[in-house]
């Protein structure tokens, strides 16, 4: 029995990090109806950003703040170059343009770092709580995911800029009529979504080794988590991530691990089919 409990707790902790990645994806979709296919590549960039900062002597947890700022700036640039000109075109166009951004990032990344694995090697302590073994890195990553989410909520509900983001998400035309500069808000939202993706990548890099291609699997998990929570709903995405982690943790003791992915993707397709607005209601 304790093994199952350990497995579920592990799932919960990693699920919070999946949730953070999913929020980045779902926020962009919620505000501008763009499914960001560069999400995975950006997550991988976050991993390498924290790796490079660590190499320059910055502790990974301090590096997170820098990574967030880089993410914000990078997101705004991507928005201006690849999304803004076609923001009103059919969804295929933004899917493809963000995908082309992904190709460019991964292509440059492969040329620079090849596809070999990298590690952020900083001292990690192992804690034992009532027979449950966990590393400090996992606890900190989960905690950081919760804190960032809390901060995001504070931003969205308590600041003028955040309220403007929500207004644009609800109804862009109406927001414009109210004098909100919607293009700037869209750029900032894309920046925030990118920053969240890079942050989640940075946190994952403190747990596991990674390659430039590692973002792909977390992109797929972000899709599943945000669809579970309802596309466009940040809280839902966080819970979606947690549910995903819990599923991974709680089915693992009973089935072959390699079936976990099958189960996840089947749930993903079924949720899309039968609860297209997610379990918590999304924005369509």
């Amino acid at each position: 029995m304790p093994e199952i409990l350990a497995s579920v707790l592990d799932g919960l902790l990693i699920g919070l990090v999946y949730g953070l990645a999913a929020i980045g994806l779902t926020l962009i979709f919620g505000v501008m109806d763009v499914v960001n296919l560069a999400h995975g590549a950006v997550i991988a960039l976050g991993m390498f950003a924290v790796y490079l900062l660590f190499g320059a002597g910055l502790h990974p947890y301090l590096g997170l703040f820098v990574v967030a700022l880089i993410g914000l700036a990078f997101g705004v640039v991507v928005y201006l170059v690849a999304v803004r000109p076609i923001i009103n075109a059919p969804p295929l166009m933004t899917l493809l343009s963000t995908f082309s951004v992904s190709m460019i990032i991964i292509g440059v990344g492969t040329a620079v770092w090849s596809t070999s694995p990298y590690n952020v090697n900083f001292p990690v302590t192992t804690l034992r709580i009532l027979g449950y073994t966990v590393t400090s890195a996992r606890l900190v990553a989960a905690l950081a995911a919760v804190l960032v989410t809390g901060f995001l909520y504070y931003f969205l509900y308590r600041t003028t800029l955040g309220k403007a983001v929500r207004a644009v998400a609800n109804n862009r035309e109406a927001a414009e009529l109210m004098g909100i500069p919607s293009q700037q808000i869209l750029a900032i939202s894309f920046g925030i979504g990118t920053a969240l993706a890079m942050l989640s990548g940075a946190l994952i890099a403190t747990l596991f080794p990674f390659t430039i291609l590692s973002g792909g699997i977390y992109e797929l998990k972000s899709f599943v988590a945000s669809v579970l929570g309802g596309l466009g709903n940040p809280t839902g995405a966080l819970f979606g991530g947690v549910i995903l982690g819990l599923i991974e943790g709680s089915v693992a003791p009973f089935i072959k691990i390699s079936w976990t992915n099958v189960i996840e993707f089947v749930i993903f397709v079924l949720i899309l089919l039968f609860f297209p607005t997610g379990l918590f209601g999304g924005r369509r």
Binding site: P91, F223, L273
Partner: protein, 322 residues
């Protein structure tokens, strides 16, 4: 039949013959291996175009049909000693039927939701097959050498398979053309422009979408069977390679979505471009970047692709090149 009076029909025939004869005349195997990739790309792009270009549904996971066709064929040929011809036909039919059943469900989704679902389907099938022991799981299926001997040795078998793939390519173009010229195609284009309005006008959108989804699965599945037979083996990562699926979208966009010529030219060009980038030293590391930049430029500045640009330059071309 009126079909024979159409110049475009003869153009398809000519291109198909060209692909069939060019390497055969000089028994040029290198050319054959280059053209086989080109032909496969054309098949994938032409059939994907039925969904993206005609109906306006972005199928990100179209490669799942190709992979399933490959798996079914190799399973029948390798495990059950079927001949290649009945095996690929059955593989095509079964995949098409599966697509029909699946389509009833997923085609209720629109836009980004549909796109995401198709990614999910491909990944689910890939992971399922990787765990499915009758198909070798992660080890995949390897064809015994006897399978080639039955067709007169591998040398002869590979030529036969090449010609069959070219035939499937010709059929794909023909189907794309016929659908475009039919009432069915008109319905699809109506769905692309405005699905709700099309329904009001009496287009049976759900049926049409499901049919075209199923149709777009058949020839890629047959091609998958032939291609993986030629490879002699199949593993999940190669069969359900999401990347190839997305490259197929790039090909359609490059040539011009919604046009038969565009999908074909886009596919052939993309294959040439990739081959070229790979052989130029110094650029081979950057081929993904260059493909990405190219795609972005097309989207931003020439969303109609090559054909869109040609049509604008010579409007009369529209009548000749479909």
């Amino acid at each position: 039949m009126k079909l024979f009076a159409r110049p475009f029909f003869w153009l398809i025939v000519a291109v198909t013959l060209l692909y069939a004869l060019l390497p055969t005349l000089g028994q040029n195997v290198t050319l054959r291996e280059t053209l086989v990739l080109s032909a496969i790309y054309i098949i994938l792009a032409a059939n994907l175009n039925l969904m993206i270009g005609y109906t306006g549904y972005v199928n990100f996971g179209s490669i799942v049909f190709f992979g399933l066709g490959g798996y079914l064929t190799l399973w029948l040929v390798g495990g059950h000693h079927w001949g290649l011809y009945p095996a690929v036909l059955l593989a095509g039919a079964v995949t098409s039927l599966l697509a029909f059943l699946l389509g009833i469900g997923v085609l209720r989704l629109r836009g980004a939701y549909f796109a995401l679902a198709t990614i999910g389907i491909n990944e689910a099938v890939k992971d399922f097959v990787a765990n499915f022991d009758p198909w070798g799981g992660a080890e995949g299926i390897f064809l015994p050498f006897t399978a080639f001997k039955a067709m007169g040795g591998p040398g002869k078998a590979l030529w036969t398979v090449y010609l069959l793939i070219v035939l499937v390519m010709g059929l794909s173009l023909l189907v794309a053309y016929l659908v475009k010229r039919s009432k069915f195609g008109l319905g699809l284009f109506a769905i692309r422009e405005d699905e709700d309005a099309a329904m009001v006008l009496g287009v049976k959108a759900p049926l049409f979408k499901t049919l075209v989804y199923s149709l777009s699965a058949f020839l890629p599945a047959v091609a998958g069977g032939l291609y993986f037979f030629k490879n002699g083996s199949i593993i999940p990562d190669e069969a359900f390679n999401l990347h190839l699926s997305i490259e197929a979208i790039v090909m359609v966009m490059l040539g011009g979505q919604g046009t038969v010529t565009g999908a074909a030219v886009g596919a052939a060009l993309y294959e040439r471009l990739r081959g070229l980038l790979l052989t130029i030293p110094g650029l081979s590391n950057f081929h993904l970047v260059i493909a990405g930049v190219l795609l972005l430029l097309i989207i931003l500045f020439a969303p109609g692709g090559l054909m869109g640009w040609l049509y604008r330059a010579w409007p009369r071309l529209r009548r000749v090149l479909e």
